[in-house]
Symmetry: D3
Subunit: 319 residues, 6 copies
């Protein structure tokens, strides 16, 4: 008989349930004192993550599961170190008959990815300088498949399915409204900078189609998405014969968008749109992180320490 | 016979002119090798500043001029250390018959101060929380005279007549458009933070009605506008019986808006609107500084090193 | 039959004892592999702290204990990770018939709190400037109940019952003797600064009457005891009509006493007594920490790494 | 009648001479008190630099001289602020009849540039990996004209004619001898890294054929020689179809060779040859700077403060 | 019956073996939930280290083993937290009949220590200045026993038997080849600096004759090897009547060889040989650490994070 | 006829006077535009310093004056760059007939040096540990001549005649009173540390008998007074056969007394008396600097920026 199913955010200690989860991580480990093997999982669904253990591992299961698999699991919710944990009794890979769509079990951007792609296309179309527009269009076109599902980060802000598209689109909206306030802003440059700035995260990190990043690529480690981004624009500009000044401006915006050398930018922004690109990037990242941080926090209370926010604990005002 | 008059930005080496200028600084000095007294001025008008010397100082003129005076000057434009300098032949204080209005000779915010004050009033009226609205209204009301002409700084961004009003109004527009993009932003808090954040600069610095800051006040030095701002809100909340939570939130926004301890914020922003306040403040300051920096710079060239921008030289793109 | 009782500092691995302890922390946890609940305690008495476990938790005990409770415990001393641990066999709340006074089981300042309060009162009386004296007297009077038991910190120096009184009194003695050496010191300012500098720790942290701090308050986190201290003096000065200069001097001393921005002082000391306040605070904190660090260290050996002393290991000289 | 001629390093206060000098800098200025124009020069020859003034400037001379010009000058050596200064009486551009070769008046690398180029060619030929060898050969070949005279810096180490060639060749010798000591070093990678690491300084700075740098280029400022170097290798590898791994390794060495983010390297060296490249670069720079610093310093004395050596004063041991 | 023996680097999970190991660390601990005692070891041999547990400890074994003991062990290889672990079934101290030489079970420098000592002697002999040569010879002679086996560090680079000799000899080779390239280098100073720079590590750390450091000495902690080194040279120079200038130069090289104050050098190098000493020290340390880091890493992969290399992960190029 | 004489602090612009001054610095310079030689002086007396010029320099006067000379001067007080300047009309070296004692024209410690030496002797006599007492007595005895007049610094705190004695004596008084408050302080160690900590400043700097420091010595630059101090104690302990532990403790106090590595202390204080030594040193330095800073400042005003106080402007409270 099928047990009740629940979302991760609703699980309570003592619940006994049947659920579909995505495998976010899995390791075969051995218990300390007894030398028995067990599987150590992190499961996820749209609402959160939970650590889980399968204490008796049949031999055939030792290598059965990998990241981004959708699994059906039966078990009990226990408590460990003040957090919920899931004790697995049964587990199997999802099968077509389950009619369970993996995408329904990962957190995704709140907007449809095709819609976001279209919206970004409109911003590209609004770039008046034909050289700049062509570079941007080409850069997006080349990655039009991966961009549909890539997150914007392995952890931290926008580490969700289609998170990169969502990050870029929201930044474009910010760029548009800021440009409406300051007449000196060149929107061609600003929109181009916004769209190009993080594109090479798609070569810096390996992501499954569910938007789950398993690791950084070798060139991601050795060169980083900023240098990859500069090279990428260079390659496209070579092909499109983009004039030198424009190529240089686009590359400077990518190069300087992290602002501080210790965050990877060897030069600081030296023209207005490069400067704005940084601040718009910060705002979108911070709104995401602050909003996430207090999602489950009562008004009048603090979140846990958030590492990506310099270990701050974020307060949920009681208004 | 009256000579031609010119704006400072139009003066060329060799020009001989009659001009009205504002005295931005004046010192009585003695020449190095000859022990002769001279007056060392900085003159200003709406278009810029120029260093000037009066080489032979009649005794009665030694103490005649002070900062913010409007003067009528005749002299010649020379060059010193690659900059223009003004050699004064005659100088006198402006008199009513000159029909010269000092305000016409200082750089002012590009919008009328009464209009800006009204616009800010509309934002205040839009604050739904009556406690917060009352605190903000009271804080502005108390300073309604000085706020009409105060600059936002002694040097750097918005160091112009009515610069503070202009800085606040532009930040409110930014806050409004950003809040339109992120539904989680509480505009009551954000607008209040924006309006309150720099108000005590009016007690931190001494400014003439022309918006020229001669110096920091003693309590400006010993306490700083951030601590003064916290105290000011405290005093107003005491009078208005503002609930503790709201008082604390407003004070935290003031306290954290410089973000880094070394820039004067003992705590980092701990809720979303405090975080946004900082970034909005940065954007408005940086747009101002970048725009100023390249005002006289040819496209395709760099500005001088700008100290308030970490000694960067700003580039004017050639598009 | 009652077993022998021991102080925590005397417990040896293998001891089986009946003791009264104060609960310094308690959490209900679940064992990793077995999902069984247990209570994880930190117990304390006048002589130190010990980690403890109650492995089988009757349902009615799950919520029975909380911080600052006095409990009677029977159990065995074991060893875990090179430290002593206490395995609880029986535990109950202390009852009046036990005739056990909780204050006898927490570390307290070495002087009687009423005596210390009186001594501080003498220093207040010695302040010649009536305005300053009144502010200080008022500030202490308002907190005369809490100051009797508050510690000076959650951890680190003077984190003991009545630690704040003891810290202030010792600093006053230092201030008095230093002023005897340098005639330029104004003792009115210095004594006032010493007494006021940490008073708002009583609003920054929540402490039980045993001097055990459970957590920081919300305004402790959002504003910090330094800003709270400035506001507090402002409020009192408003009421007492204290002249502006004196109010400002007192506030500057509070504001600058941590010296470095990254430790919470937005301004550095700008007059002599503010500068001295910082060094006197440092000396008293450091003597406390160094003395504690080597309390149980053999001459010729080093302590463990002390986190509050930049992870130094402190040496006990062999003289 | 022709006066005696002297090298700059031999000039003494009071000397009256006829000399050929290179113009290292020239500005038209106006005297402070008199508003008279004068030309402010820095002259150089193989042995050093001297500040110079032409106090009465005929109109036709105001724009006659520019950087890197060879001039013939008559004048007197004076002293100003403890340094020698040259008071110009007569000055004219050198003419063919003078039979004076500008190259004889600038400091050059101590080895012949064609010889150095050849030697570097031998190191290239010794690279066993054909892909790497081709990239390096191509990169050098493309710049074979400019590399003959470019300095390695605007100021500081190797800021002399053909300084870049000399810097690279000496580093190759260091690399060769270090590789002879550690068998794990891959000389293909190391030699390639050495030759490529600074090549784009030739696009970062504008140099005359005398090796005198007037200024940084726009892309030198906006992108820097490190990013230019990565792009340059990318372009060459595209053309030569260099395998991805090798391209990435070469680019990583360029990217990381300044080691610290604040000196322009967004990543730290992550393999042995990249790490060695940095230290070899440091050694060659430091030997140059230390040797220069004490060139004119008596044994047993200190040099002036050297800015490129963190303001150290360098000691000349008395052995 | 004897089981197979294996080197640590060859052990696989599930192996059951008889081995000789060196005890690198041993602690008597108690299990968390059961309060049973066990011995927690780190074993080592020439090829690496492995964590090990003896779960049931007979009373007589509780204090039987100490660091640097050679033991014979039977047990099984298990896995814990993704690392191999050794479950000990039997263990005893090695006895003469085992004919097992402890030195065969610790990692040693790749060259024979007597050979290295001799080679260093040749460098000493090549020092032309008789004062400097005598100081160096005396300093080495005084420590000629301990230097045969001392490592150069407790952890990190050259933390192996005779590691100090090996570090010094390799640095001398580097110094020799670098001096061959730069004629301005005084090899007397450089060789002396290299040999003297770390000698007092032999008083800063306690090492067994197997080159295993158990701890820092008291004076190692209170003064550090740099100050000890300065004092040591002073004492020797007093005895040998070394001229002041030479004594001072030698001491400056020791004092400045860590370069940065936060790494223990109160002064920066102020002459060439002191500067070179630092860079040569760095190169030898870094080659060691990088080579170690990738010893077991597949080409095309990264090592774990290396703490002594600022937490970098080192890449093994795939060429 | 003799003109009136005045102290430097009393000179007013326009005064024409005959004065005795001490030459604090003198340079032969040449005027910029005219190439005429002049002497550029800094004169001092007990009350301050003044810049001075002798515009026409007779040949025989070019080398007549040097630092620490007492001169008789006639001239006029002028103003340059907002500071007083002295225009010299006549100048000659003081002669015996002037009956002017150079010591009356330099700022000295406010106590008699023989008295201070005696007082320090009493503290030495109070050291109970005979080994420590002997080291301290010997160290002072060896320098008993120079210590009578040496300042404690070239600039900044206690840069006056006998400043070192005064600094040490005041610190001893502080140490005594602090030890009266904390019973755990070992006064033997603390007094020894105070007396020894700066003694080697007498070898780090060259001072005339007037307490005017012309420059740092070579070993002052290459080793610094901290390392010199450690060596000095080592040498004395060798001679006196001081036990190792005591020698080490004394050296650690010297080594750590600057606290931060970037101020020259390679180790931080690791026992209580070493920690206190640092804070006592700071207090005495800061009281000196703050008191000096406001010596001529009106109550209610700020001093100039003080470089030794991190560029703070010091406030003189208006009480």
């Amino acid at each position: 008989m099928e047990l009740a199913s629940k979302k991760i955010c609703d699980l309570l200690v003592g619940d006994r349930v049947d659920c579909f989860f995505i495998v976010k991580r899995v390791d075969l480990k051995t218990t300390n004192s007894k030398d028995k093997k067990y599987l150590d999982f992190i499961f996820g669904d749209k609402t959160g993550e939970i650590s889980a253990k399968l204490w008796e591992v049949p031999l055939e299961m030792e290598d059965m599961f990998k990241e981004s698999d959708l699994v059906k699991v039966r078990g009990t919710v226990t408590s460990y170190m003040n957090s919920n944990q899931f004790k697995v009794d049964r587990i199997r890979l999802a099968v077509p008959e389950d009619s369970a769509n993996p995408e329904d079990f990962v957190e995704s951007a709140p907007l449809d990815n095709r819609f976001m792609f279209q919206e970004i296309g409109k911003y590209i179309a609004s770039i008046k300088d034909v050289d700049i527009r062509n570079v941007v269009r080409e850069a997006v076109e080349e990655k039009k498949d991966k961009i549909m599902y890539y997150p914007a980060a392995k952890r931290n802000h926008h580490a969700i399915r289609s998170g990169l598209l969502y990050h870029v689109l929201t930044m474009l909206k910010l760029g548009e409204s800021i440009s409406g306030i300051y007449s000196s802003v060149n929107t061609d440059l600003l929109y181009a900078g916004i769209i190009l700035h993080d594109l090479e995260k798609m070569n810096e990190m390996e992501s499954s189609e569910l938007g789950i990043v398993s690791e950084y690529t070798i060139e991601g480690n050795l060169l980083g998405h900023i240098s990859l981004g500069v090279k990428n624009v260079d390659r496209i500009c070579d092909r499109l014969n983009t004039p030198d000044e424009k190529r240089m401006l686009l590359q400077h915006m990518i190069l300087s968008h992290h602002y501080e050398p210790e965050y990877g930018s060897p030069v600081k922004p030296m023209f207005l749109e490069a400067e704005l690109l940084h601040h718009i990037d910060m705002i979108d990242a911070r709104v995401y992180d602050f909003t996430q941080a207090v999602r489950d926090v009562e008004p009048g209370s603090f979140s846990e320490m958030i590492f990506s926010l310099d270990r701050r604990r974020i307060y949920n005002p009681k208004l």
